[in-house]
């Protein structure tokens, strides 16, 4: 759990630095990938229309990387602190293990945005976003939400129980 959180924080910080240093290269790579898959991205051969499609898809890729950076820096420290609360305040071992597993999965949520950034290039903007949302973002984000909700309930029950 601690390793996952520290790894995600380091990856998020590195992504931010790389995005700043390699912005033109990332943009060129994204544009080239879109142009190389005209059918998937629905390019029509009209310069004006195609330029808009390329720009929108490139923007989605950059947004994915940006979300990876911000979510990794924001969510991983929170998950680490929440997992510490679980270790401290949640008594039964199975419940503790279950919550830690949920938080470990939730901590991987920011990595889904890396897949998002690549999926929009490889599968098309709408298909890529839909697939990643359904298959990765929702389950991992759901695990984090479930973990935080269960922790809140565990803390509330503890408060109501005997001292």
């Amino acid at each position: 759990m601690v390793f996952v959180a520290v790894f995600v924080i380091a990856l998020g910080a590195t992504t931010g630095a790389l995005m700043s240093l390699l912005r033109p290269q990332i943009e060129r790579y994204a544009q080239a990938r879109v142009i190389a898959r005209p059918a998937i991205h629905g390019l029509a051969g009209s310069a004006e229309y195609d330029a808009e499609v390329v720009a929108r898809t490139t923007f989605a890729t950059e947004a994915g990387l940006s979300f990876l950076h911000t979510h990794a820096e924001g969510l991983a420290p929170l998950v680490l602190l929440a997992a510490s609360l679980v270790a401290t305040f949640v008594g039964p071992a199975p419940a503790r293990a279950c919550l830690q597993a949920l938080f470990a999965l939730g901590c991987l949520f920011p990595l889904a945005y890396l897949v998002y950034a690549l999926a929009v290039l490889e599968l098309g903007r709408d298909a890529g976003i839909e697939l990643v949302e359904r298959a990765i973002l929702t389950p991992l984000g759901g695990a984090a939400i479930l973990g935080f909700a269960a922790l809140a309930i565990a803390l509330a029950l503890r408060r109501r129980g005997p001292a």
Partner: protein
Amino acid sequence: MTPADDSTWRLPPIAVLLAAVLLVACAEIGGASMARFKLELARWARGAMLARPAVHGLVGVRDVDEPILDEALVKFDAGLRLFHMHAEGMGAVIVTTTLVATTLVRGAGARRLIVALITVGGAGYPLGYLLWSALIPRLGVESAKNTAEWLVWAPFGGAALVGLWMLTGAVAMRLVRR
């Protein structure tokens, strides 16, 4: 005093916690000031830019100058917002990662180095955005960016990255050896 036990978090040095808390406090003050003094800040930046037409490529024709001024003001505002966001985020990152380093990194030298790199790098890096914003009216967008890059982002951001990856390696080694 916290016991030297893997199952209990050990507190990082108070100076580290103080740096992180101060950073978060500065972020909050920055965010509040941006909202409270938005007009005053924009007026100051615009006035400083108009006083340096050559730096910003202003030619004295309204239709040409206004888009240039608008773009520079957007960047000026973005720098302040990025300072607010990064200072808040890095404050939390400093607290959590130095907590992990203080608890899990065995060698005293490596532990001190990691904690120092993350604290100094993490606390210094967001200030680059403040510097960038402050320099835009005087140096222009690109010159200000280059100055902030070399003076703050590269050295402090680099230090934080090295510290974070050293910590990741140290935790991974602990995991493998267990």
